[in-house]
């Protein structure tokens, strides 16, 4: 189920909220588990829910096993179980996600005609396999206790707010809340705020920017400025879409008493790529740092090894995003820039006025998104070329139209990429002592406008009568 849909907001969420708060506390995890599994996850892909059930049960027992062997002092066995868990999860992930890429690769190298698998990608598999792995790894590292209650563990894995699109919630971050948490009006109100903001970002800002990108990406050879507008539109789309979803996830988690960590922190105000990756998809960066970079040695084994570690981490990070070579290129692109920054670029950036650091970062980020957005390499190179030199020239009448008729969108997108809204909101709250009624009214208005935009996506006028 998609968050920004009528069935989710007015069917599923309405039902879950009602039942959750009517239910006695000890049944609440079970309710979340059942609803998340059967009504949320299985809704779109009924049969694939078995994969998630398997992954959950698999790592539940792996966790128990590690605890058991550790108590017996059998270090070798705990390591073996850990390896089984990691290999098992990666095997499931790679099978469903990367097999066809692998087959295509073999076919083109060895000229074979192996048929592709006719398998849909299980929704959220990149997220939940990483979540369950974080559990077994942290149990192994003794960062958390073994979760003996399979319902509680199941709730952790399947919980609908973060199941489909993150944030990747590490078990250690919600361990306490899984076992005992308090739902308060203050938390619920905060959750409402995050949910409404997230929905608005997605259906108003992200979808509008996305429509502009869709149109420009279909043009054969847009003029240079139009190509930039397209790249910027995509940059806004992916930010507001992804961070909007995370906002909704954090908001809904808070309603149930879970405090998830932030996943985005104004990434576009970064003054370097190093900073960007501390502000963008934070939960993924954290996961790769804790479970890949540091175990590989991080920066503790000399410069050459550190560079290798970074390249490995960034190749994997890129590849995690999709089973297509452009994502690998995207990961390595950033990996390379990060290495250069670590070596000397960061020092240079600190010496020049900050405006240039911002321009440097935004430029590289946007180019990165162009790589990310084009799975076809011919289209990618053509688009990159048009950013600097296009057969259609620098701009045309339509370029101006795209800028001016969408001026409000550009304005809102820029403002909401900065800390400005938060600053203004703080000033208003502190200086004007706005009472909660006004804030609630504002949220209701924003919610209704968001619902209007959400419904607009399904509006499908048909020109020819009844066919």
């Amino acid at each position: 189920m998609v968050f920004s849909s009528s069935i989710f907001m007015f069917g599923f969420l309405a039902a879950v909220l009602t039942l959750y708060f009517l239910m006695p506390k000890k049944w609440r995890n079970l309710l979340l588990l059942i609803f998340s599994l059967f009504f949320f996850y299985a809704w779109d892909m009924p049969l694939y829910s078995f994969i998630m059930i398997f992954s959950t049960v698999f790592d539940y027992f792996n966790g128990l096993a590690i605890g058991y062997y550790r108590n017996k002092g059998n270090k070798k066995a705990t390591k073996a179980v850990l390896i089984i868990s990691v290999v098992g999860n990666l095997a499931i992930l790679c099978f469903y996600k990367y097999t066809n890429l692998f087959i295509t690769g073999i076919n083109s190298i060895a000229n074979t005609g192996i048929p592709l698998l006719d398998l849909a990608l299980p929704i959220g598999i990149s997220f939940y396999t990483f979540q369950t792995m974080s559990y077994t790894i942290d149990v192994y590292l003794d960062n958390c206790s073994v979760q003996k209650n399979i319902i509680n563990f199941g709730t952790y894995v399947t919980m609908f707010p973060q199941l489909i699109a993150g944030p990747i919630v590490r078990y250690v971050d919600v361990e306490r809340e899984l076992n005992s948490r308090k739902e308060t009006f203050k938390d619920f109100g905060y959750g409402v705020k995050r949910l409404v903001y997230g929905l608005a970002k997605k259906v108003i800002l992200a979808n509008s920017a996305g429509a502009i990108w869709d149109e420009i990406s279909q043009m054969q050879n847009p003029p240079v400025l139009t190509a930039w507008i397209g790249a910027i539109a995509f940059s806004f789309q992916i930010f507001f879409d992804f961070s909007g979803y995370s906002d909704m996830a954090i908001g809904m988690g808070r309603m149930f008493g879970f405090k998830f960590l932030e996943n985005f922190n104004l990434p576009y105000i970064s003054k370097s790529i190093t900073e960007f990756w501390r502000r963008w998809h934070i939960s993924l960066g954290t996961w790769f740092k804790e479970y890949v970079y540091i175990p590989l040695g991080g920066n503790r084994k000399g410069l050459k090894r550190q560079i290798l570690n970074l390249l490995i981490v960034w190749a994997l990070t890129g590849f995690w995003h999709g089973a297509s070579w452009n994502y690998l290129l995207w990961g390595l692109y950033f990996g390379l820039i990060l290495i250069l920054e670590k070596l000397f670029l960061l020092k240079w950036l600190q010496k020049i006025p900050t405006v240039f650091s911002h321009i440097y970062s935004i430029f590289l980020i946007i180019i990165g998104w162009v790589i990310f957005a084009n799975e076809n390499f011919a289209n990618l190179f053509s688009y990159l070329k048009n950013l600097f030199c296009s057969p259609a020239g620098f701009s045309d009448g339509y370029t101006l139209y795209l800028l001016i008729s969408n001026i409000v969108l550009w304005g809102l997108a820029v403002v909401f990429s900065t800390a400005l809204p938060k600053k203004i909101s703080e000033i208003i709250t502190k200086k004007l002592h706005i009472c909660e009624w006004v804030k609630a009214l504002g949220l209701v208005i924003l919610l209704i406008i968001s619902i209007a935009f959400m419904v607009g996506e399904s509006y499908n006028p048909f020109l020819y009568f009844r066919f």
């Binding site: 619920f188 054969q220 101006l400 001026i407 949220l443 209704i448």
Partner: protein, 373 residues
């Protein structure tokens, strides 16, 4: 401390409850006038449907199709976007004076389709010239509204290029070309609706007079028009409904005569080409012949001879004038006629054959070569 958050919580739950219960407990709508399509009602639940995910998909559609105040919310969204300066919404431009124009860009056009249609038309003319050399052949491409209302478009707004494609149509051999494009560009009258992609009565009549001039037919008099409806809002409006958009007027030509023509669809015969019921519904343009049919023959006309009119929805409103020049007109809709025209042209000898298609269909319709083949 406990009081903080209650108001926000309750207001949120109120909104959710309103939309949730409101949608469940208001009766399901089966058809949307605005969208011209059926709306999903609550589906039957079957085990196999659930396992395949089909039931769920239908329920998803049900939830959004039946959302309470759906049409009002769409209008709200459209108004907000328009107020923000956006001038293309839902696939249409909204130009000066609330002139709606279909947003079809060059990048949307597949020239292969267009070129295939050009060849198909030329081959068709060749084959008819061979098999029925006495039949007069005509080609009338109908331009899109920008020929007439292009200046109302928002500054810089782009639409696909008509001129070059009209030139290619003009170059087709084997039939007399009827130039509507240049006449439309010069004319002062309102030739296209503000809210619909079709031509107005004046547009249809102007094209008709061009046809008469080229085909050397007598021009039926203009002054037999009476008002059909002045509350017409067409399909372009539906894509981006703004409450302050202007109404269009549909005129009906010579009702007395038109009510007496015989309309044959398949085996059914009826009288009258105007289906007046539509004037009370949203889709008022369907007053002309009652919408789109694959093959309709209208007889009892005041002229002589039989016309085969290969057409799209534009021709429905030009038919009343043509009935003054022919005894019968057979209209074949390229979007709904599924086989080849050979079955018609072999067994019926037509006095005249006229291909009258909108330029949008000529660049998009992939079935034309099948029908003309």
């Amino acid at each position: 401390m406990k009081r903080k958050g209650i108001i926000t919580t309750l207001s949120f739950l109120l909104v959710i409850a309103f939309f949730s219960l409101g949608t469940l407990f208001t009766p399901d709508r089966t058809f949307s006038d605005n969208e011209n399509r059926g709306l999903q009602t609550f589906p039957k639940i079957s085990l196999s449907g659930v396992v395949r995910g089909e039931t769920q998909s239908l329920i998803n559609d049900y939830a959004s199709d039946q959302l309470i105040f759906r049409d009002g919310l769409i209008t709200l969204k459209t108004c907000l976007q328009y107020a923000s300066g956006k001038r293309d919404i839902g696939g249409v431009y909204i130009g000066k004076g609330y002139q709606y124009v279909d947003k079809l860009l060059e990048s949307d056009i597949n020239d292969t389709t267009f070129n295939n249609n050009l060849s198909a038309i030329e081959l068709f003319f060749d084959s008819i010239t061979e098999s029925s050399p006495k039949t007069n052949l005509y080609l009338l491409p109908i331009p899109t509204s920008t020929v007439s209302v292009g200046e109302t478009l928002p500054k810089g707004a782009q639409v696909f290029s008509q001129e070059s494609r009209i030139e290619k149509l003009k170059a087709i051999q084997g039939a007399k070309y009827i130039d509507v494009y240049n006449e439309f560009a010069k004319a002062e009258k309102v030739l296209y609706y503000k809210t619909d992609p079709h031509w107005t009565n004046d547009g249809a009549y102007l094209a008709y007079s061009q046809f008469c001039a080229t085909a050397k037919k007598d021009l039926a008099p203009y002054d037999l028009h009476t008002l059909g409806s002045d509350e017409f809002k067409g399909t372009l409006y539906s894509k981006a409904p703004l409450p302050y958009a202007k109404n269009d007027s549909i005129l009906l030509y010579d009702r007395t005569a038109c009510d007496n023509y015989t309309v044959t669809i398949g085996q059914t015969e009826s009288k009258g080409i105007y289906k007046y019921d539509y004037l009370n519904k949203k889709d008022k343009y369907s007053v002309f012949l009652g919408g789109n049919q694959a093959l309709v023959t209208v007889s009892g006309g005041e002229g002589k001879g039989h016309l085969l009119l290969i057409r799209d929805s534009f021709a429905s409103s030009i038919l009343p004038y043509l009935m003054k020049n022919y005894e019968s007109v057979s209209l074949v809709d390229t979007r709904y006629f599924t086989s080849s025209l050979k079955q018609l042209t072999q067994y019926n000898k037509y006095t005249d054959i006229l291909i009258m298609l909108g330029l949008k269909n000529l660049v998009e319709d992939k079935t034309i070569p099948i029908i003309l083949g």
